[in-house]
């Protein structure tokens, strides 16, 4: 097991009221808990190319209104970096999420997932309806609509004779040029002008995972099957809110629209937004999350 060096952390607007590890099959994941409101908003990990600090613009706001739980996905942050591909399947992230709920005595929560976080968020909502009050999916990376055409040109798994553009999304390239890949990738995540700070943050977090582990997490995500995922979507019964930027250069808006459609959820199109609206447009996203969470309470009252 590889233990990555952690960069000295920036100061935070708010520090956790409790933190700790949840352990499953010898793999430990690190969680943080903020505030003591009700209900719990559970901010799920996304692809382990970043860790839970990608929620930093949500935590201090939401923790003033709700109880906020988050954790570093396996492979990054203070969580373990087990080796192998199968340990990074979406089912593992879903199981880690449940383990963190157990460890923190969280019976029920509203879950929120960014990008790949929608995969395990959907699994939780589908398979544990009694524990998921509602689900928010932001820029969901789901196989319900075709990817951007420019992302289908190059193989991620084979040696390439170019490293232009999306050719950088390639395992061999990651082994040699991790930072360059991260700068490219997060440059595409933040298509909005004036995103230098966000890109810098994400590149730093992206350097906390070693390239071999990054490759393992990516290979596992690529195994996510369309049929089984569609089944999971069809089993979701809780209220769903999907936020998707119309300028998302990582995952097309059509994927978010399709997820809203199959889960019977509400779709909010974020105009001019890229793939990480929670970081780049936090006020907008925070208000939408808060409204959604508070609407669940009202629904509970009116639907005894």
């Amino acid at each position: 097991m590889i233990v990555a060096e952690t960069a000295p952390e920036q100061s935070r607007a708010r520090y956790p009221d409790a933190d700790g590890f949840a352990e499953r099959d010898g793999v430990r994941v690190f969680w943080e808990l903020y505030g003591d409101g009700d209900p719990t908003v559970f901010l799920l990990p996304t692809w382990s190319i970043v860790h839970s600090r990608h929620w930093k613009a949500q935590i201090p706001y939401l923790a003033r209104h709700f109880r906020v739980l988050t954790f570093d996905g396996r492979g990054n942050g203070k969580s373990d970096r087990p080796s192998g591909t199968s340990v990074y399947l979406e089912t593992e992230f879903a199981a880690d999420s449940l383990a963190v709920m157990e460890a923190t005595g969280t019976e029920r929560a509203v879950v929120a997932g960014l990008s790949c976080g929608a995969l395990w968020g959907t699994l939780l909502a589908a398979d544990h309806p009694e524990r998921v009050l509602g689900a928010v999916f932001i820029g969901p990376a789901v196989p319900l609509a075709p990817p951007h055409p420019e992302r289908s040109v190059y193989s991620a798994y084979e040696h390439l004779d170019t490293d232009q553009g999306w050719a950088k999304y390639n395992h061999y390239y990651w082994l040699e040029h991790q930072r360059e890949f991260l700068e490219f990738f997060f440059g595409r995540c933040f298509t909005e002008p004036h995103s230098t700070k966000h890109i810098e943050d994400c590149v730093e977090w992206g350097l906390e995972i070693d390239p071999e582990t990054l490759i393992a997490t990516h290979s596992a995500l690529a195994l996510c099957g369309l049929e089984s995922f569609r089944d999971a979507c069809a089993r979701v019964r809780c209220p769903v809110l999907v936020l998707h930027g119309d300028e998302d250069a990582i995952r097309p808006h059509a994927q978010g629209a399709a997820l809203a459609n199959v889960t019977g959820g509400e779709l909010v199109t974020l105009e001019g937004c890229g793939h990480f609206p929670q970081a780049r447009h936090p006020v907008k996203v925070n208000l939408l999350i808060r409204d959604f969470v508070e609407s669940l309470e009202r629904r509970t009252v009116w639907q005894p």
Binding site: P193, H194, T196, K197, E200
Partner: protein, 263 residues
Amino acid sequence: MYGEGRPTLLLLPTWSIIHSRHWKMQIPYFARHGQVLLFDGRGNGRSDRPENGYDEREFAADALAVMDATGTERAVLVSLSMGAQRALLLAAEEPERVDGAVFICPSVALGKPLAARTIIARWDEELESDEGWAKYNRHYWLRDYRGFLEYFFSQMFTEPHSTKPIEDCIGWALETTPETLIATQHAETLDADATLALSDRVRCPVLVIVGTEDSITGPGRGIALAEATGGELVVLEGSGHGPHVRDPVRVNLLLREFVESLP
């Protein structure tokens, strides 16, 4: 004019390379706590662009005219950079209308200019090079105005992640012309003796805010002004020449604390 009640903050114009929108991070905050008055300096924004008439005394007189036009008897003056000279004239010569004065990164003839900027003394000459501060040159402005603006504002905001403030300022600067800026350079400013004499006459409370990474005036001029006026000095670690834009929360809280401390 924004908000109502006391006190009134008069946010003075700075060099007419930009107009009053550079105060955009102060307006909404202080309009909740009192009244905010501001105007575009002659030469930019919606104000006229006379061919000449950019002496410091003209700007000070404009400020009084704006106070009169809005029925503003007294105000706390807040100035940035070149605005310091107008503010100093008002604070020294119109004490009954000035409750206090805040100088942010003041550009006054005290202390020393930054070594990298000494070439500006040859502003009127044709230079061999237009690298770095050699861009601060009338001939270059006429040749490549945008090139000058991009350089100047990159030096104004030395903090990382300043692309938006730089873009804003370039946009405002394009609302005026290099010819107008050249006219502002021909205007009469306050020399060291005049600055010291006026500083000595200031009776109102004074706050001076400087940034350690200020690449336009350097922190030295502000430190000297605080000493000359007997004012309070706050040195912002890591800040450039526009801390009110780049660190607005910090600067707003300092301003508010100063305003609330006034008798």
